[in-house]
C-alpha cells in the first residue's frame, strides 16, 4: 500500500458538487487515521522493505541462496572475530550465506501469507455469506463444522492435514489455510446477519434484486471492514504457523531457504554457532511483528470505536 495521495484523491471527478469543503475521500481519511498511529506506520515501512527485498531478492542478495562455499562452513557474522566481510550474517553448516538465504526466505513467507489469506478469505466469505444469508439448516451445518475445526488447536489440525497430504510447502500452506477458515466464516456470518436487518438491504430486495446480487453486490461490500482487519492479522499468524510446520519438518523441505525450515536443523548448533539459530527466527519475529502492528493500526483506523 504505497502512500500515493493522488490516486486516492482523484476519484470520480465531477461527482462531488463544488459547493463548500468537500468531505475527505474515505480512503484518504483512512490513510490519515492510519498515519496517526506511529507503530502502524513503522509496521507498514517494514512490510514494504521486506516486500521489496523479496521481489528483488536475486538482485539484492550477495550470494545465491543454495551456493555452498566449501571453505566457509559455519563462518560467524562479519563483526565477530573470525567473520568474513563477504558473509554479512555468517554461513551455515554447509557454507551457505545466511543473509542471502534470509532474503530469499522473505519470498516464501510473504507468498505463504498471501496464498493462505486468499484461500481462507475466499472460502470463508462464501461459507459465512451462505450461513448468514440462508440461515436455518445451511447455517447450522456450516457453523457446526466450524465448531469442530475450532475445537482442535490450529497447529495440531494443520499437522494432521499435513500428515494426510504428506509434508511439503504447498500442503503446509493448504493446511494452514484450512485452519483459518473458521475465523473468517464466523466473522463473515456475524457481519452478514448484522447487515441483513438494515433497510438498504430490504430496499434492494424490494427493488427486485436477485439472490446473488443481494449477496455479493449489496451485502458483501458492507462486511469488508472486519474481514480486512482479520486478513492482516491472520497474515502474521500464517507466517508463524507455516514457519512452525517448517521447523517440525512438515512444511517446506530442505534446502528451501524458508525461515522455519532453516531453524529445523539449527537446534544442533545451539552450543556452537548461535548465528545459525538467531537470524532466521529474528526475521520471522520482525516480519510478524510488522504485520501485527499494521493490522492493529488498520483496525483502529477502520473502526474508531475500538480505539483506546
Amino acid at each position: 500500500m504505497p502512500a500515493d495521495p493522488t490516486t486516492v484523491a482523484v476519484a470520480e471527478p465531477g461527482s462531488v458538487p463544488a459547493s463548500g469543503p468537500a468531505p475527505l475521500h474515505p480512503a484518504k481519511e483512512l490513510w490519515f487515521s492510519f498515519c496517526e498511529n506511529k507503530g502502524a506506520l513503522a509496521g507498514l515501512v517494514v512490510i514494504v522493505i521486506v516486500s521489496l527485498l523479496a521481489i528483488f531478492a536475486d538482485l539484492v542478495s550477495p550470494h545465491p541462496p543454495l551456493q555452498q562455499y566449501r571453505d566457509a562452513f559455519l563462518t560467524p557474522p562479519m563483526w565477530v572475530e573470525g567473520g568474513r566481510a563477504e558473509f554479512l550474517l555468517g554461513t551455515d553448516d554447509v557454507g551457505r550465506d545466511i543473509f542471502s538465504r534470509l532474503i530469499h526466505g522473505a519470498r516464501y513467507s510473504l507468498l505463504i501469507g498471501c496464498i493462505v489469506i486468499t484461500l481462507s478469505l475466499s472460502s470463508g466469505v462464501l461459507l459465512g455469506l451462505s450461513a448468514g444469508y440462508f440461515r436455518g439448516v445451511v447455517e447450522e451445518l456450516i457453523m457446526r463444522l466450524m465448531d469442530v475445526m475450532l475445537s482442535i488447536p490450529s497447529l495440531l489440525l494443520a499437522i494432521v492435514i499435513v500428515a494426510i497430504l504428506g509434508p511439503g510447502l504447498l500442503n503446509a500452506v493448504v493446511a494452514v489455510a484450512v485452519t483459518y477458515l473458521p475465523h473468517f466464516t464466523r466473522i463473515m456470518r456475524a457481519a452478514v446477519i448484522g447487515e441483513m436487518t438494515k433497510e438498504y438491504v430490504t430496499a434492494s430486495r424490494v427493488a427486485g434484486a436477485g439472490r446473488l446480487r443481494l449477496m455479493f453486490a449489496t451485502v458483501l461490500p458492507n462486511c469488508m471492514a472486519p474481514l480486512i482487519v482479520l486478513a492482516t492479522l491472520s497474515f502474521s499468524s500464517a507466517i508463524l504457523d507455516a514457519a512452525a510446520l517448517g521447523f517440525l519438518g512438515l512444511g517446506a523441505q530442505p534446502p528451501t531457504p524458508e525461515w522455519g525450515t532453516m531453524l529445523a536443523k539449527a537446534r544442533e548448533f545451539v552450543q556452537s554457532a548461535w548465528w545459525v539459530v538467531t537470524f532466521p527466527g529474528l526475521a520471522v519475529l520482525i516480519t510478524v511483528l510488522a504485520f501485527n502492528l499494521a493490522g492493529d493500526g488498520l483496525r483502529d483506523a477502520l473502526d474508531p470505536r475500538l480505539k483506546r
Partner: protein
C-alpha cells in the same frame, strides 16, 4: 444453573460427533488402504490382507464402520499404537500429566506477570510505561516460540549454565512414577534435591510456553481495565475519596477480571498447540512430542486417538470456562 449447564453440555454433542467423524475420516483419507497403513512399512500377503480387512471390519459399509468406531470410542477403546502395541488411551494418559504440568506452570507464569503488568499499563494509560508494556506484549504475541526456546537455551543453558537443556529430571535421580506429575512425585520420594532439579528442568519450557498467553493476558487485562475505569461507579468511588489503590484493586479489578477469565480459558488451545513445539524443543516427554513423533513414525492410530483426546480436553475446558463465567457473571447465566 443446572439448566445452564445442561444447555451448554447439549451444545457439545454435535461437536463431539463432528470431531469423531473427522478423526474417523482422517485415517481413511491417508493414501493407501487402512490395513497397509496399520501394517506399516513391512509388506503383507494378499490373504493376510483380506483376513485383516475382515477382522478390523474395513469390508463393511462406511456407516457401520463409523458406528463401530464410535462404540469403541465411548468404551475408551482408541486402538493400539503401531509402534509400542499398547492401547493409545493408556499411552496418552501416561504422558498427559507431563503436558498438564508444563501447561499449568506456563499459565501460572503468564498470570503472575501478565495480570499486574496489564493493570499497571491500564492505570498508566498513555504514559511511556503503558507504551512499553504494549510494545513488549505485541512482541511476545508475534514470537515464534520454537525460536524463542532455542534462544533461551543458548542464553541460559549454554552460556550461563543455569538450566538443563532438555528432559524432566536428571538421570542421577530415580523416581517411582506415582502420579506422573514430576513435581509431586519428587516431593513424595526420598531423593534429596530431586524436586529442585525437576523445577530447574521446568523453568525454561514453562517460560517459552507461557510467553504468548502472557502477552494475550497482559493486553486483555489492560483493555478490560480501561473499560472498567471509565465506568460511572469508579468515578463515584473516586469522588467518595477512596484511595486509588482501593479503587483499582477492589472496585475496578473485580469487574475487569471477568473477560480475562474467558481469555485464560481460550488459551488452553494455544497452550496445547504450543506444547507441540515446546516439547519438541526441550525433549519434554508429553503428548505434544508424542504426537509429532507418532506422525513422523506414521503411527496413525496414535495420531487419530491423540487428536480426538486433545479435542475432548479442549471441549471440556471450554465447558468449564463457560460454567465459571456463568458463576462469576449472572448476566450470562440468565441470558437466553
Amino acid at each position: 444453573m443446572l439448566r445452564f449447564f445442561l444447555t451448554k453440555l447439549a451444545g457439545l454433542i454435535p461437536t463431539f460427533f463432528g470431531v469423531t467423524l473427522l478423526t474417523f475420516a482422517m485415517i481413511r483419507l491417508i493414501p493407501g488402504d487402512p490395513i497397509e497403513i496399520l501394517a506399516g512399512e513391512r509388506g503383507i500377503t494378499p490373504e493376510r490382507h483380506a483376513a485383516l480387512m475382515k477382522q478390523y471390519g474395513f469390508d463393511r459399509p462406511l456407516l457401520e464402520q463409523y458406528v463401530f468406531y464410535i462404540g469403541g470410542v465411548l468404551e475408551g477403546d482408541l486402538g493400539k499404537s503401531l509402534v509400542t502395541k499398547k492401547p493409545v488411551l493408556g499411552e496418552f494418559l501416561q504422558l498427559f500429566p507431563a503436558t498438564i504440568e508444563l501447561a499449568f506452570c506456563a499459565i501460572v507464569f503468564a498470570l503472575v506477570i501478565g495480570l499486574p503488568v496489564g493493570i499497571f499499563a491500564g492505570v498508566n494509560r498513555g504514559r511511556p510505561a503503558d507504551h512499553t508494556v504494549m510494545a513488549l506484549s505485541l512482541t511476545g504475541f508475534s514470537m515464534p516460540i520454537f525460536w524463542w526456546g532455542l534462544l533461551l537455551i543458548i542464553l541460559f543453558s549454554v552460556n550461563l549454565g543455569w538450566t538443563p537443556v532438555s528432559g524432566r529430571l536428571d538421570f542421577a535421580y530415580f523416581i517411582d512414577p506415582i502420579t506422573n506429575f514430576m513435581l509431586i512425585d519428587t516431593l513424595l520420594s526420598d531423593e534429596q534435591g530431586a524436586f529442585l532439579d525437576a523445577l530447574h528442568h521446568l523453568v525454561l519450557p514453562a517460560i517459552v510456553l507461557g510467553t504468548i498467553p502472557l502477552a494475550v493476558i497482559a493486553r486483555m487485562t489492560r483493555s478490560s481495565m480501561l473499560e472498567v475505569l471509565s465506568e460511572d461507579y469508579i468515578r463515584t468511588a473516586r469522588a467518595k475519596g477512596l484511595s486509588p489503590l482501593r479503587v483499582v484493586g477492589l472496585h475496578a479489578l473485580r469487574n475487569a477480571l471477568i473477560p480475562v477469565v474467558t481469555v485464560i480459558g481460550l488459551q488452553v488451545g494455544t497452550l496445547l498447540a504450543g506444547a507441540i513445539l515446546t516439547e519438541t524443543i526441550f525433549s519434554w516427554p508429553g503428548i505434544g512430542k508424542w504426537l509429532v513423533d507418532s506422525i513422523s513414525r506414521r503411527d496413525y492410530p496414535s495420531v487419530q486417538g491423540g487428536v480426538l483426546l486433545v479435542a475432548l480436553v479442549i471441549m471440556t475446558v471450554n465447558l468449564i470456562v463457560d460454567l465459571l463465567y456463568g458463576l462469576i457473571n449472572p448476566r450470562i447465566r440468565h441470558a437466553r
